[in-house]
């Protein structure tokens, strides 16, 4: 009698076969990255130099000027003195506890990631809303991007591009882009059919429909997506620091390995402060610009 029946044990590949498959795939990918790694890296060069320039800009500017500019931007977005004052206080505290430089680094990379995610995500969301076929391809892809542990897709990225800012940006974007894509798609699909029909009946072309009706009416939903994307990008800061992205994530990582509770807590709080600032500013901007959709006239 065989001691390994398919009834008691699940049929599985031989260890040697499994090893061959792994070896083969790993080898193929390594060859690929050796062959094209430089080429792909040079493709990202403009982005890298922009990242470095932006980070230097934030670090090189006097701290009070940075605070003034950020406070001004948040006031313009929300037209609220309270919000602007909150922003100023948070940044003063961050500086006071010695986290200014790391915060600037994080701020720069998150800003770039968010802008890229919006720039890539909204067109994909529009394409998804226009075609059911695109939607049926993109939706499962987004599911994978959101559920696959970040470490898994960090491996090929690091193999291809090494460690540094660019792989960090890619990892953050992969993690943070799904909400803006999904909610752009959803927002456009939820636009009132009769309003869209009216536009068509008056002879609007498809771009007139998109920019004149669909995007403006989907804007509250799209803004919710943008907001989520920003939050998720901030959540990736610690993981990104594992592949060499400097910023608030690195002290946190250091505190985990060395059990520095206070250092971790302070840097964690700085991340939270950044998140809350981004959230409040973007939400109050959205609320202000879409006031009449809800029936009140502020303009």
């Amino acid at each position: 009698m065989s001691d390994k029946s398919w009834l008691t044990e699940i049929p599985q590949l031989d260890r040697s076969e499994l090893r061959d498959i792994r070896k083969y795939l790993d080898g193929a990918y390594r060859d690929f990255s050796r062959e094209y790694g430089d080429l792909i890296e040079s493709f990202f060069d403009p982005l890298l130099s922009f990242l470095i320039w932006f980070e230097k800009l934030l670090l090189g500017t006097p701290w009070w000027l940075v605070i003034v500019v950020i406070a001004f931007l948040s006031y313009m977005a929300g037209r609220s003195w309270k919000l602007a004052a909150g922003v100023v206080v948070s940044f003063l505290l961050i500086g006071y506890f010695g986290m200014w430089d790391n915060t600037m680094r994080t701020l720069s990379i998150i800003t770039v990631c968010t802008l890229l995610a919006i720039g890539i995500g909204i067109p994909i969301g529009i394409a998804m809303a226009r075609s059911d076929r695109v939607q049926s391809i993109v939706t499962p892809t987004l599911d994978i991007m959101q559920t696959m542990p970040a470490f898994v897709y960090l491996i090929p990225v690091v193999m291809l591009l090494g460690i540094g800012k660019i792989p960090g940006v890619i990892a953050v974007i992969i993690y943070a882009i799904p909400p803006v894509i999904r909610l752009t798609n959803l927002g456009i699909r939820l636009v009132n059919k009769e309003v869209l029909e009216a536009a068509t009946a008056y002879g609007a072309s498809s771009s007139q429909r998109l920019f004149g009706v669909q995007l403006p009416l989907a804007m509250p939903t799209i803004m919710a997506g943008v907001n989520q994307t920003i939050m998720m990008a901030l959540a990736m800061v610690v993981i990104a620091s594992m592949i060499g992205v400097k910023g608030l994530g690195q002290p946190v990582l250091q505190s985990i390995t060395n059990q520095y509770f206070t250092l971790g807590l302070l840097n964690g709080l700085a991340i939270v402060a950044l998140a809350i600032i981004f959230d409040r500013v973007s939400q109050s901007y959205a609320k202000r610009t879409q006031a009449h959709l809800g029936g009140r006239d502020n303009g």
Partner: protein, 425 residues
Amino acid sequence: MADNENTSEPLIRIENLYKVFGSNPANAMKLVRAGKSKSEVLAECGHTVGLKDINLSINRGEIFVIMGLSGSGKSTMIRHFNRLIEPTEGRIFVEDVDVMQLDKAALQDFRRHKMSMVFQHFGLMPHRTVVDNVAYGLQIQGVDKSERQKKALEWLNTVGLEGYENQYPNQLSGGQQQRVGLARALCTDAEILLMDEAFSALDPLIRSGMQDQLIDLQQKLHKTIIFITHDLDEALRIGDRIAILRDGLLVQQGTPDEILLNPADDYVEDFVKDVNRARALTVETVMHPPACRITADTIEEALKQMRRSKEDYGYLIQDDQYQGVITQESLEEANRDDSVSELSEAVLDEADAPAIQTEALIEAVIPETLNSDIPLPVVDADGQLQGELSRENLAEVLAEHHAAGQKDDGEEPKPEPEEQPAKVS
């Protein structure tokens, strides 16, 4: 209601139009052509027959009402005129242009200039101000801002919304919103106006106000209006001609009077029996020809003519003009009385036998007709005698309606004038 003499030129023609909803309409069309009904086609291949062999011609300048209950295909129908829905088969002509042959750019141009549309739930853009909504059609056409704003403001005044131009649609009531929808449709100067249950979402009072406004506007503008409704009263009130749809089939088309007096089948009769005929029919449609015209110049001659007829009354006509009612009694009295020599003195008082107008609604003449022993004379707008209306006559028309109503009770479920299911908003 406009007269049809000068508006008989067909502007829109629809020939053999079919619409089948589903993944493989060609397959289902075979069944439809084989004469299967809507439910049979649905059972056999899962396709819904929206419209079946529709033939229509709509004249320039008329209000053409398409009416039917939910699911009868009327909203599908109206979306074929500007190809918001593509037909499975059939041809649509507007002024001899085959709309089905238009390519994308030509169709866009056609929608911009030839037709405009008013929607059941208004279809206004919540992110644009009222004046920008009205100017939308012109903006799409590429008209520059100052010109389109000016025109939009004029139309807003016409529909009675001056002062609201900088509000947003959500700040207006339903009736006001639909006025904006109407102004938007009129602002492009399109000749054809499609109105998809335009007043169905409004309160009854507001609705009748909007109907009046539409009739008023139509008298000035002479648009060709295609109006969809599920409400027969509304159809009778504003329609020059009415087409009735049932399960995607056109069961009857004709003037309101034709529909009311000669319903084509039980379905139409079911609709019609709930209509207040006294309020829907005009005197012209129910009057009889005058029994006795007296064209004499003297009393004796008149008496002679009167004796020859079976009746003991007559309508005096002199010099081709209707003069009044005379009876045998009044004539004989005048004859006996030597002081009376003129025939005109035998004419009854206007108060005893008032002349009624052809255009008047029956409801308006019920009291006069009932109070008079003799049939009342019916005259047209030029004062010419057209017919007579008697009590019996009136009773017959109104009672027929009643009897028909009782006879049909319980035979077939009464069609409920329900709302179209609200579109997802």
